[in-house]
Every structure is written in C-alpha cells, then in structure tokens.
C-alpha cells in the first residue's frame, strides 16, 4: 500500500477546524491520561508497600480501660496472658503502635550523650520477648529481648531502656561501616541504650513519613490506659481466634472499651483502611482515563463518519478512476494516523508540561518516559480502531456515486 500523504495533507487543509479539534482532543487526552495513569501507578505501588511483617494470621486489638487506677500494668499483664491462652493463638504482646496504624510515637536518636542537634528520627514500638515472633520479623544480627529486660515506663515519659533492637535502615545510617551491634544510642539525654539486635525491615506506623524504615523496638511496658495488642494465630485459626478475643477479654475484665468498628481487626483490614484513600484515588483516576479514552474514540468516530459522508462523491470518483477498496480504507486510516501523530506530538509536550507543573505545585515525581510512550502508542492505536468502521464504510462506496449529481 503506498501512502498518499501529500493529497491527504491537501485535503486536511480544507477541514482545518475538524482536524485541529481531533488533534487537540488527542493531545489533551494524552496529557491527562499518561499523568493520571502515572499517579495510579504510584498509588498502587504505595498500597502494596511491604511493612516487613508477615501480615497473614495477624490480629490487632485496640483497647481502652475505663477507670483510673494508679497503674494499668497488672491489667495489661492479665490481658496479655488471657490472649496467649486462647486456643489457636501462637503468640501475643501489648504495644503502643505497629505499622500502618497511623498513630504512634517518634523521637530523635543521638550517638552522643549530650548532643541535641541533627538527631535521626525513629518510630518507637514498645514490645516484649514475643514481639518478633508475633510480627514475623527476622533478626539479621544479634539477639531477641529477654523477659527480664522488659521495663515499665510511666505515662508520657520518654523511655530509654538499656537494650534496643533497631532496623537495618537505622543501623546503616548511623553506622555505615556495619558495626552497629553493641553500639550505644541515646533516645533521651544522657541515658544510654545498647543495640542488641538488628531486624531487616519494619516500617513506621505512619504512611507518610520521611524515614519509613526507621524503627526502634524497646523492651518497654508503657503504663497507659490505652493500648494495642497484637496476636498471631496458628494457620487456619484466625476466624476462631477473632471471635474468641472479645469474649475472653470481657470475661477477664469488663471495665474496658473495645471500639465497635476498630476494636478488633485483622491486619488485612488495617492495611485496607490505611490505604483506602490511595485506592480510591487510583480507582477514580482509572475510571476517568477509561471514560476519557472512550469519549475521544467516540469523537473520532463521529467526525470521521461526517467526513466520509461529506466525501462520498469524491470517493466514488476515485473508485471510478481505478482506486481499490483497500486504497480508500488506507486513505482514511492514514489520514487519521497523521492527525493523531500531530496530536500526540503536541500531547507529549503537554504531558511533560503538566508533569512539570505537578512537580512544582504538588511535589509529585516527574512522569516516567515509559508512561508517555505507552500513552502515545495507546492513542495512536485507539485512533486507528476508532476510524476503522467509518473508513470501512467509505471503502464500500460504489463507483456509481461519481455519476450522481
């Protein structure tokens, strides 16, 4: 098939508004679609970000005690024992926070006792000797806590236990030589904590934080009326344990509130809740892209059909002069390709401009070139598909049309 580009361009010059409108629509669609799909990509990546935990068979319990005893520690100890005794429970511990909880405590770490500036932020998780097993987090180096190392800390006091376990991210930042084990860190002024273990990965409770992997595990029982319990169940026992937890806890002590919706949740629920907004945004963007592409395709069909209708006579003449059906089909496909090509060239520039603008105002990463390339290809193919039906109709115009007035 020989491409008749010159006559097509000449013909297009006679349909300037239509040509420009289709090209413009393709350009805008490309600019929006590749940026939107790039946002979708980022959100989907976020939604699936690993926490470092083994997230299956993990249940969280959010608890508040009613009443103001001098100390909550005995109540907490009883509750942990109650949870550990539920059939089907592998391990359990009490804590202040865990990944994706979206609420927690962070502090700055120092490597010298009296320094106050340039500290490295770290989230704090208060744990005991069963925490690593419950979370499913592996030690890279060092050892776990002993039950005897767990200390009680009063409300709103910065804890600084003698031993801590840190994530590899912290170890690498503070001790680039890889000799973090056994080193001393300061979480409160003048109070040394020794690094006894390093875990591979564990994320902070928040989903937007500059240092996602900076976490310190502290052997601390925090004296407060509000806490979280984490429970790991044996495989296949999650449902049974889920139902047994409120009964067991209320049976041991009624003076508590387990919030109706957020009291007892599986970790799947926690993850879904944490990223619900991101998922919503990704779905919205995808739907908008799909609708946008449909509308653009429909617009191409509409305008091409009109052009075919307008040129029936010319088509008849060409057919009468010996053009084959495939020539007519090729003509319209090529015409659309040229318009779409113009559109995607402008669209690529618009897409990059839009990305630049979003970088400036929304601090979003620059759209990756793959996405622009995929978008360009998508729109060129879409244009060809959309124009195919009208073009086919054009190719069926009989040479007799030439003789009609």
């Amino acid at each position: 098939m020989n491409l008749q580009i010159k006559p097509i361009l000449t013909a297009l010059r006679r349909h300037k508004s239509g040509t420009i409108l289709i090209a413009l629509q393709i350009a805008l669609t490309l600019a929006i679609v590749c940026n939107a799909l790039f946002i979708v990509h980022q959100r989907v990546e976020r939604v699936h970000r690993p926490t470092g935990l083994d997230e299956t068979n993990l249940i969280t319990v959010q608890n508040r005690y009613v009443g103001k005893p001098d100390t909550f520690i005995p109540l907490m100890k009883t509750d942990v024992a109650t949870l550990r005794n539920i059939p089907g429970v592998e391990s359990a511990y009490v804590t202040n926070a865990f990944p994706l909880r979206r609420g927690g405590w962070s502090t700055g770490i120092q490597t010298e006792p009296d320094k106050t500036k340039d500290s490295l932020p770290s989230a704090l998780y208060f744990v005991d000797e069963q925490a690593l097993a419950t979370l499913g987090v592996k030690l890279l180096a060092g050892r776990n806590f002993n039950p005897s190392e767990v200390v009680t800390v009063g409300p709103q006091t910065t804890p600084a236990p003698a031993q801590v376990i840190i994530t590899k991210a912290i170890a690498d930042k503070l001790f680039p030589k890889g000799d973090a084990l056994g080193k001393t860190l300061y979480y409160a002024k003048g109070k040394p904590s020794t690094v006894i273990g390093i875990v591979a990965k564990l994320t902070v409770p928040w989903i937007d934080f500059d240092h996602m992997d900076n976490v310190t595990l502290m052997p601390v029982r925090f004296d407060s009326g509000y806490q979280q319990f984490l429970v790991r169940t044996k495989p296949g026992q999650q449902d049974n344990v889920f139902k047994a937890i409120p009964k067991a806890l209320y049976a041991s002590n009624r003076m508590r509130v387990l919030p109706e919706k957020t009291g007892i949740r599986t970790f799947e629920t926690i993850r879904a809740a944490a990223y619900e907004a991101d998922r919503g945004m990704a779905i919205l963007m995808t739907v908008v892209c799909a609708v946008l592409l449909t509308i653009t395709a429909a617009g191409i069909v509409g305008l091409s059909s009109f052009w075919v209708g307008q040129r029936r006579k010319q088509i008849g003449v060409r057919r009468a002069l010996g053009a084959r059906r495939s020539d007519i089909l090729g003509y319209f496909l090529t015409e659309n390709f040229l318009i779409a090509l113009g559109g995607v060239i402008v669209g690529t520039m618009l897409a990059l401009g839009l990305s630049q603008w979003m970088l400036k105002y929304f601090e979003m990463p620059r759209v990756s070139f793959t996405y622009v390339a995929v978008g360009v290809l998508l729109l060129l193919v879409l244009g060809q598909l959309a124009v195919f039906a009208p073009a086919l109709r054009a190719s069926k115009v009989s040479p007799v049309e030439a003789t009609r007035a």
Partner: protein, 436 residues
C-alpha cells in the same frame, strides 16, 4: 421566534439520536466530574467561621532555649506553653481570649445498662463560646469567674445530650467524665465548624468535641489530653501532672481583636513579651512571633488535602476534553446540514437568524447535559461520602452548587456551539442549492 428555534432544534436533535446522546453524555460527564470535585473543594476550603474569621487570631511565640530540630521553616512552635498562654491571656490585651487544649476521656452513663464510652473533649475558657459563636440550646456557657474558681461544670454537645438524656434539657444534671461528676450548665445546638480550625492536631475535618470543660477544672480532675506536646531543654523527665511549669508547648490560645487597627498593636505586644522573656533568660532564641487570622492559619497548615486539588484539576481537564469533543461533534452535525441552511438562507433567513437557531440547539444540549451532570454529581458525591476521609461526610450539593452546575453546563455548551454555528452560517446559499 425562540419557540420556533426550539422546535427546529428538537427536531434536528431527534434526527441524529446517537450523535445527540453522545454530546449530552460527554457534557454530562464533564460537568458531573467537575461539580463533584469542586463541591469537595468548596467544602474543604470553606471559611469555617465567616462572620468572625478576620477577627480571630492565633498568637505564636518562640519560647525555646535552643533549636532541637523539631520545627523547621524558621517557624515558632505550633502551640504555646501554659506559662506563656496564661500570661498572654491574663494580660487581656485583646477583646476576647481563650486558652484551650483537646482531651479525651470516658463518660460513664448513670444508667448502668449503658456501657461506658469515650468522647473527645475541649478544655477551655469562658470566652471560647462567644468568640466562636457557639450556639447554646439550653442553659448557658460558663463565666470567667467560674473559670477562676475551677467549678466542676461542663457544657455538652447536642450529640452527647441525645445519647445520655434523649435530647431533653439536661442543665443541672451531672455527667460523669473521667471519673469526676460535672454539673451540666449548657447544652449546645449541633455545631461543627469545618475545618476544625481552632485545633488541627487531631484531624483537620474532625467533628466538634462532645464535652467542654473549664481548663482549670480539667487539670484538677486530671483530664487526659489528646493532642501533641513538644518539650525542649533540660527538663528531662516531664510528668503529665506538672505540665503547667514544664518547658513544653501543649496549649492553644485564640484571641479576638475587633478593631483591625489594633492588630498591629497586639503583635507589638507579643514582640514586647518575647523580648522581655529573652531579657530574663527564659527565652533564648531570637524573638519570632506570629499572629495569623483564621484563614491565614488554615493556609499555613495546608489543611486542604493535596488529592482534592489534583482531583479538581483532573476534572477540569476532563471537562475541557469533553467540550472539545462536543465542539467537534457539533461541527460535524451543523456542517452536515449545510444544504438545509442553504435553503433557509435562500428563503430569506438572515445569517443571524440561522446562527441563533444553531446556538439554541447547542443550548438544548447544554440543558440536557447540565441535568445529566447534576445526576452524575449527586452520584459522585454519594461515592465521595463512602470514602474514609473525615471531610467526606460533609460532601453535599447545596443550592448554589446546583445552580452553578446547570449554568456552567449551558454556558459551556453555548460557547462550544459558537464556532460550529458560525462555520455553518458561512454557507453560500447559491452554492449549496446548486449541488442539490
């Protein structure tokens, strides 16, 4: 004449149903998307307290001894220490002033069949209520004297009153909060400024608190705080009970200054206070004060979520594509009728008349698209309300937005119809008639 155009337009639209449907659908979807996102933006970026927002100010000081890196951007801390807040409030340099902080605690219903539950609380001062135009349904707010004597009293929300007393006038009865019996002096009407401007620690679009307690009383009954606390200096171990004297920022101060001329005077007062504290060695860092009004405070805290802005721009872009699409389709539709236009022109219709008729046709597409857009926007907002964000429950289409939706659809399609209509009018009657 308009009636005739309308009839012609309807007839013409009926002739090509698919094309008309496509145009209406494109406009409806563009409008629907725009209105959904704009309504959300309108809800989240609205002025929480329009009558008062330019008169309410949020003073900030730099009280620390050295920068510990907790704050950046050269800004003073977001809250005040008890010492400074009380000193500023007691100086009474503004027309009204209230120190406050958020709290949370258990309410134990008198009816033992009802389980205890937790509510959000606000520990504050008498001026809170008149300053923020808080509507009181039964009873009254408390007085400055009652603040001073730390009375065991409380004002409760309509929600809490419904829950505990079935919406009856409960003034004079008691509510057991955090283990202490408090006498109810006032019950509020439903009140929810959004954003929750006076305290952004919890969630910018959080619901209002359920119980309001004098700040001193709250300290006496050891009411739990719910908010942030940032400490500095060599205090080391800070106990919750001694926060009044600690080097920690944990309370907010709001002041009302009715005369705009006095605002500069109040700022000078803050600077003066800060300089004085530096002279006594209490403050060590350079004087750095702020006095923002409500909207400046919200802007500074960037309370409007970034995603909401992105969605609005996305919807606008989407709408533009829909419009470009409609222009193209209308062009095709109008040009196809060149012959008809030629006949009408030859029979004496002026160019203007043909133009008006075609624009009427575009307008009808706009009206239909607008109505479709309202339906889609209602659906879109219903979807938004199912989202987990705190502001989601606020997303409703009000009359202003409803009118704006339809107006925007009509204006947009008429504008979109101008080019095609103009092109169609350019037809030379003789030429068209000849080719028939």
């Amino acid at each position: 004449m308009f009636g005739y155009y309308l009839e012609l337009a309807l007839r013409s639209l009926k002739r090509s149903k698919a094309l008309t449907a496509l145009m209406v659908l494109a406009v409806a979807m563009g409008i629907g998307a725009c209105m959904t996102t704009l309504t959300v933006l309108y809800v989240v970026s609205g002025d929480p307290i329009p009558a008062q927002s330019s008169r309410l100010f949020y003073p900030q000081l730099e009280p620390r001894d050295e920068d510990n890196g907790f704050y950046d951007r050269g800004e003073p801390p977001l809250q005040l220490s008890w010492r400074d807040a009380m000193a500023l409030a007691n100086a009474k340099r503004a027309d009204r002033q209230a120190v406050m902080t958020g709290g949370m605690g258990p309410v134990q219903p008198a009816n033992s069949a009802q389980d205890p539950f937790f509510v959000h609380a606000r520990y504050t001062m008498a001026d809170f209520f008149p300053m923020f135009d808080v509507p009181v349904k039964y009873g009254h707010a408390w007085s400055a004297a009652e603040d001073q004597s730390r009375e065991r009293i409380a004002v409760i929300s309509a929600t809490l009153n419904d829950k505990l007393f079935h919406g009856e006038d409960s003034t004079g009865r008691t509510v057991r909060y955090n283990g202490a019996d408090l006498r109810i002096v006032g019950v509020l009407d439903p009140w929810r400024p959004h954003p929750h401007f006076y305290d952004l620690n919890y969630d910018s679009y959080a619901e209002s608190e359920d119980i309001y307690i004098p700040l001193g009383t709250a300290r006496d009954i050891r009411g739990q705080r719910a908010g942030s606390r940032d400490c500095w200096g060599k205090g080391g171990k800070v106990e919750e009970d001694s926060l009044e004297t600690a080097n920690c920022t944990w309370v907010q101060l709001w002041v009302e200054i009715d005369d705009p001329v006095k605002v500069a005077g109040y700022k000078a007062f803050l600077t003066h206070y800060s300089d004085e504290q530096r002279a006594t060695g209490q403050f060590r860092l350079p004087t750095n004060v702020r006095l923002r009004n409500v909207n400046e405070w919200l802007d500074f805290n960037q309370v409007v979520p970034k995603d909401v802005h992105i969605q609005v721009w996305l919807a606008l872009g989407f709408f533009v594509v829909c419009l470009v699409n409609t222009v193209g389709l209308m062009l095709a539709k109008f040009m196809r009728r060149s012959a008809e236009v030629g006949v009408r022109r030859a029979l004496g219709a002026s160019r203007g008349a043909v133009f008006a008729q075609l624009v009427t046709e575009a307008g009808i597409v706009g009206v239909a698209g607008g109505l479709g857009g309202v339906v889609l926007a209602l659906f879109g907002l219903w979807m938004v309300r199912k989202q987990p964000d705190a502001y989601a429950s606020l997303a409703h289409l009000d009359l202003t937005m409803l009118a704006a939706t339809i107006a925007m659809a009509i204006v947009a399609t008429v504008v979109a119809g101008l080019l095609p209509a103009w092109r169609a009018c350019q037809v030379t009657p003789a030429l068209q008639l000849k080719t028939q």
